[in-house]
Point group: C3
Chain length 238, copies 3
């Protein structure tokens, strides 16, 4: 048994030594079954998993899953953007905590930190009408209560962060939905799952996202989210 570490996962031998059932479920159910299910690519499953770990600040797993993500087609720039995105959706310190593990994972593969510009030369086009509708609704509800939140929501999040080109809107939505589920923010899932599907996440993929999430956020968070998922699916069928 190696010395307890807070910066990496236990080996499967270490897990098997004290929790053999957990090791067996990991090998048989999680690795050989869940991760290989059709309906959601391994690349997307890596994005789901990494998003959960950052949202829950579960740092020991990050090196392993950053490495798996890089091996499964998630680019360094995308991981960089996922961290930045989650600063806004789970809190600044969650993003900061992911910086060193990502740096280490990149260094291990001889990838130098990418020269991503902080300010991209071109933002994605904005759907002005949808954004105007969202902004008007938030202004009406909360403009009087928290003008600062309303201003930053528009300026920083919807007119800047979501338009950064190095992470596709569909992937930003995926990251957001996973973070909301992992942090028990059920009230916000409806808006963001609907937006995810507008951004191209299919119904079959969404269903698999929650199946994958059950293992990484625990069953209760998913069981609390699924009634909302059901309503979003139903509202889009009409």
């Amino acid at each position: 048994m190696s010395i307890p570490s807070l910066t990496s996962l236990p080996s499967m031998d270490d897990v098997a030594a004290v929790a053999p059932a957990l090791a067996a479920y990991t090998a048989e159910a999680l690795d050989a079954d869940v991760w290989t299910r059709p309906g959601l690519s391994v690349r997307d499953r890596c994005i789901v998993t990494v998003s959960v770990l950052i949202a829950k600040a579960q740092l020991p797993g990050l090196p392993h899953y950053f490495a798996k993500a890089l091996d499964s087609g998630v680019t360094p720039s995308e991981l960089s953007e996922i961290i930045t995105h989650l600063a806004f959706y789970t809190g600044w310190m969650n993003a900061y905590a992911a910086v060193a593990p990502l740096a280490a994972s990149l260094a291990e593969r001889g990838m130098s930190p990418m020269p991503l510009p902080a300010t991209p030369s071109r933002l994605l086009p904005l759907d002005e009408e949808t954004e105007a509708r969202r902004a008007a609704m938030v202004e009406q509800n909360l403009g009087d209560v928290a003008p600062g939140v309303v201003r930053y929501t528009t300026e920083l999040i919807f007119r800047d962060l979501w338009l950064r080109p190095d992470l596709a809107p569909r992937d930003r939505s995926l990251v957001t939905v996973c973070a909301l589920t992992a942090t028990a923010q059920v009230a916000q899932i409806s808006f963001h799952l609907d937006r995810a599907m507008d951004n191209g996440l299919t119904r079959a993929e969404a269903s698999e996202v929650f199946t994958h999430l059950a293992f990484y956020t625990g069953w209760p968070a998913v069981m609390s989210a699924l009634p909302v998922v059901k309503d979003v699916f139903a509202s889009r069928r009409k």
Copy 2:
């Protein structure tokens, strides 16, 4: 003052040096009063505490409370099963994070990691009728939305995990209710507290569980749970 450590609790001297009131509340209210209250055994209080720490991924406290649990009649096999159970109820990485602290606690007492079979030779008997009713309800509500979740809930959780013989169903229920409270999953408490009482947790014990939880998960999580507890108690009185 010792060097800040993320793998163990501060000593009482360290606590007293910067937060003397916290040290006093710990000695007088928590250690001398709460832990000695009748109505819930020290063994059960250890299970409650360990479940909260794993659910909240609060690793520095685990060595201390694993040791206290082992000294209070919780067996190594039970702790192993608690970790495995919480993989499903709080997320896989929460369980992984508890592996090294448990290994260290066992090693310290010269207990070798137990030769628990990953697959027990015999599962506990299943109440087929209750399980069929549960499965039918979930299938009807969610079978169309997340068939993967529905399948694993039946196959892995209710027809396997809950039937593993090395942790009594009453104790699995106790672990589950604590995890739900600690992670603010209030919507799931009703089902699991009712099940806990079906599994033998008395009303007086349940009441003490939430008293103990107030200190380890904080008051707000318990105050949010208690209206649900009240409803469950009332529904069982009839």
Copy 3:
């Protein structure tokens, strides 16, 4: 790139190396804009930030923000009381985890751990009528369900903790509201925000608290809290 650390924040160079956009948002939006907004003092913003980090057990940021708090007029005694207060409002282990970082921050500035008495010679005066009303309501609702919780709520929290003189009631309320938002305990915000405003937190300050919180707890937790904030503001206008 320095070795990943779990006990301190990454440097801005480390952040910029893998997440240049996060570094840019930090410099331009968070440091140069949010922290300098009128309506909430830097001292209060430090209390908000420290409360979030303790509530979410995000230890790597604590040394930095304890230091900033000490430099911005928060006294060692106040930080000591904040930690103790959060033992009750977020769980005992969250408070314990903050002990070593506070000790380190004090030592770095050559401040010796303060000789704060665990039991102050004089408690703040109690508004007996308001407290009697609160106690009666809780007793009626929950006295039968969890007599232990009801007893400790009165004896330890409202007749002791809140009356300790080294942290003003207005600041205890601020700490409490931040902890509730950070831990998604929306159901408890109404009571405590109302109490915060009774204790002297202005409407403009409360609005800025949630603006500041958006960055440190993430947008979703704040968007879930704001409807409650709106209702509290409306109820006090009449």
